[in-house]
């Protein structure tokens, strides 16, 4: 065993986690929201193959709040897109809530995106011509929820992010922080199994970032499973577990306290 690999084994929180990942082909128990086994993602760039992910084993339990860190180009977004069912792996297994998602067809994936996943993006990805209310309603539209109920639930969701008074505003009439809160309300409207956020504060100033982190904190405290990508250590420090990617592989996976103390040591 190299020093690196030794460290890796030591850092993976529990043996239990290793056992779940090791059981190739078997459905994980229902406590495990996400289990990936040997996820690879190759991009064929006209003859030259880019290996964005080179075998990622990740297991996330219900109610965990995980930050994924790593340098630019290390595969964070690629992994998030696969976990969010926006993309499919070239190889490997992905189990979401005990269901093998990596083998699903297009329409089934759409359903999973609609019901199981809430995705928050760095660039908000709101429909520019639609009001905040309508943006929040959209997932319910595709879930086939009747209009009146849609509206009621969307207003509730906006209330939870303190934006009920802005529901008739379009994205260009809202500040960055408000836009991201609309996006969070939209991500949560279908009560997803996981909330995914790819650099949710990447386009925000530090004060607004803190606001958004408090929203995530509250969600995590209320039992929402959260996975968040960031490359800022102080943002990652809000999570309870930090996974670091390097060159398409997990290079470390540890509890926040360990991460923070190491961080303090390097300063």
């Amino acid at each position: 065993m190299t020093a690196d690999a030794h460290e890796l084994a030591g850092l993976s929180t529990t043996g239990e986690r290793q056992a779940v990942i090791g059981a190739t082909g078997a459905a994980p128990g229902k406590d495990w929201v996400i289990v990936t086994r040997g996820i690879r993602r190759d991009y064929d760039m006209g003859g030259e193959v880019v290996h964005a992910l080179r075998g990622v084993d990740l297991a996330v339990r219900r109610n965990e709040y995980v930050a994924i860190m790593g340098p630019s180009g290390s595969g964070k977004s690629t992994l998030m897109n696969i976990i969010g069912c926006l993309d499919t792996p070239t190889a490997g297994e992905y189990w979401l809530n005990g269901v093998l998602v990596s083998a699903m067809k297009d329409d089934e994936l759409a359903r999973v995106r609609n019901r199981e996943i809430g995705f928050v993006f760095q660039t908000f990805n709101l429909l520019p011509r639609a009001t905040a209310l309508h943006n929040v309603e959209l997932p319910l539209v595709y879930a086939g929820v009747p209009a009146a109920e849609r509206k009621r639930r969307a207003i509730e969701a906006l209330e939870r992010v303190q934006l009920a008074d802005r529901m008739d505003h379009r994205p260009n009439e809202l500040s960055g922080g408000q836009r991201q809160r609309v996006a969070i309300a939209r991500a949560l409207i279908n009560n997803p199994a996981i909330l995914l956020a790819d650099e949710p504060t990447g386009n925000l100033d530090s004060q607004t970032s803190e606001e958004i982190m408090r929203v995530f904190e509250g969600l995590a405290n209320s039992g929402q499973t959260v996975i968040m990508v960031t490359h800022e250590p102080d943002i990652a420090a809000h999570a309870r577990r930090v996974v670091v990617l390097r060159d398409g592989r997990i290079s470390s996976d540890e509890r926040r306290d360990a991460f923070v103390s190491k961080l303090a040591a390097t300063i």
Binding site: L86, D107, A110, F119, N125, L138, Y142, R186
Partner: protein, 414 residues
């Protein structure tokens, strides 16, 4: 994807980009406009030819024995025309022979006509009247209704009584604010006594029927209508549609015998029926229907191509929106439906404008030409369906493209 939202989105697009939408929808508009207009004209002319022309002008189950066709609406060559001029005249003797050969229950009348000037003691001049020297059954055959006074009878005809029945326009012009019955109307300098006024009939195929003057054939009238140089025609009405062929065969045989035609020779006369007029109409109608299919078809094909292009641009411009919708759970068919509804809303909107223009065009044609036009309700239904259909056909390719976009790639678009 909620249907109404897609419709609303498409209409909003039209509102924002009025000029662009206008050009986008021009093809569909023009196509639908021609469809409505041509169908209206065909329908209107059909009503006209089949009801007014065949029923009123020629009479039901009626045929005319003539030297050459009068209602021929097709092309006549110079040579044909000259050949017709060499044909023997239809004479009073022919008419009498026809009468004697006809089976019981068949009506018969001599018809001779000419546009002539008339005068009354009150009005010395006026537009010419269509003077007709006819035998009495003419009234029954043509279903002419005498609203004031009476028609003349068999005896008056035999004796050549100088009496006339006049159309409403003649009555109004020559006897203004007067009761014309019993008054004198001069034709060719000779006096005739008005004994009846016809019901108002209007103009049929350019012939103002209310400017008729009908008198007994055997009165002096036939001298003015030129009966000596051949009769305008002999009118025969069979008792029923089924009896028509037999009556026609009888008359044809008789006329061939009288003209001493050998079996190999063609007829040198015509038996002109409303059927033959309808045959001519049917061939004109074929061209009109072809025009009614081709003009709209070209418009709709061009329209579909333009709409397809516009939708491809829309898909490209809204790639990111598609990515967002997919990331939130839209299935391929949801995206597909969104763009199809949008495309067909667009083209149905164009069709609606085309329907308006088409109705306008057919009204215009009806106003400036003698062609009547009546808008067919079914053509409006067809136009709406075509509009929606063109949108769907034009939208399938762009919508399919949109629906197959990869969510990650689409989300990265700007």
């Amino acid at each position: 994807m909620p249907f109404f939202e897609a419709v609303r989105l498409a209409l909003a697009q039209i509102r924002v980009q009025k000029l662009k939408s206008f050009f986008t929808l021009l093809g569909v508009m023009i196509g639908v406009m021609f469809l409505i207009a041509v169908v209206s004209i065909v329908q209107g002319m059909g009503n006209y030819v089949e009801d007014a022309f065949a029923g009123k002008f020629l009479g039901v189950n009626t045929f005319n024995v003539r030297r050459f066709p009068d209602f021929n609406m097709g092309d006549v060559t110079e040579a044909e025309w000259r050949a017709w001029q060499r044909r023997p005249l239809v004479t009073v003797e022919d008419a009498m022979a026809i009468r004697d050969a006809l089976p019981a229950g068949t009506r018969w009348a001599i018809e001779d006509a000419r546009w002539l000037a008339a005068q009354s003691p009150y009005v010395a001049s006026g537009p010419q009247a269509l003077v007709q020297a006819v035998t009495p059954e003419y009234f029954a055959i043509k279903n002419l209704v005498v609203t004031q006074g009476r028609a003349f009878n068999e005896q008056e005809d035999r004796l050549g009584a100088p009496v006339v029945v006049i159309g409403t326009e003649v009555a109004e012009h020559f006897f203004p604010a007067l009761d014309p019955i019993g008054k004198e109307l001069r034709i060719g300098g000779l006096p005739f006594r008005v004994i009846g006024v016809l019901e108002k009939q209007g103009t049929v195929f350019g012939v103002p029927l209310d400017r008729q003057v009908l008198g007994p054939f055997h009165s002096a009238l036939h001298r003015f209508t030129g009966a000596r140089r051949g009769l305008y025609g002999v009118v025969v009405q069979a008792p029923s549609a089924e009896a028509m062929p037999e009556v026609q065969a009888t008359v044809r045989e008789l006329m061939r015998r009288r003209h001493k035609l050998r079996p190999a020779q063609d007829d040198d006369f015509v038996l002109e029926s409303s059927e033959s007029a309808l045959t001519t109409w049917a061939s004109i109608k074929r061209y009109l229907v072809l025009a009614g299919i081709f003009l709209p078809a070209i418009g709709l094909v061009v329209g579909a191509m333009v709409i397809m292009n516009i939708m491809l641009v829309a898909v490209a411009e809204r790639t990111r929106e598609i990515g967002i919708r997919k990331s939130l759970g839209a299935r391929r068919r949801d995206i597909m439906a969104q763009f199809l509804v949008e495309a067909s809303t667009l083209s149905t909107f164009g069709a609606a404008i085309g329907i308006g223009l088409g109705i306008g065009l057919s009204k215009l044609v009806a106003a400036v030409s003698p062609l009547p036009a009546s808008v067919a309700t079914w053509s409006i239904g067809v136009a709406v369906l075509l509009g929606a259909g063109v949108g769907i056909v034009a939208g399938i390719y762009p919508a399919g493209r949109a629906s197959r976009l990869d969510p990650v790639v689409a989300l990265r678009a700007d």
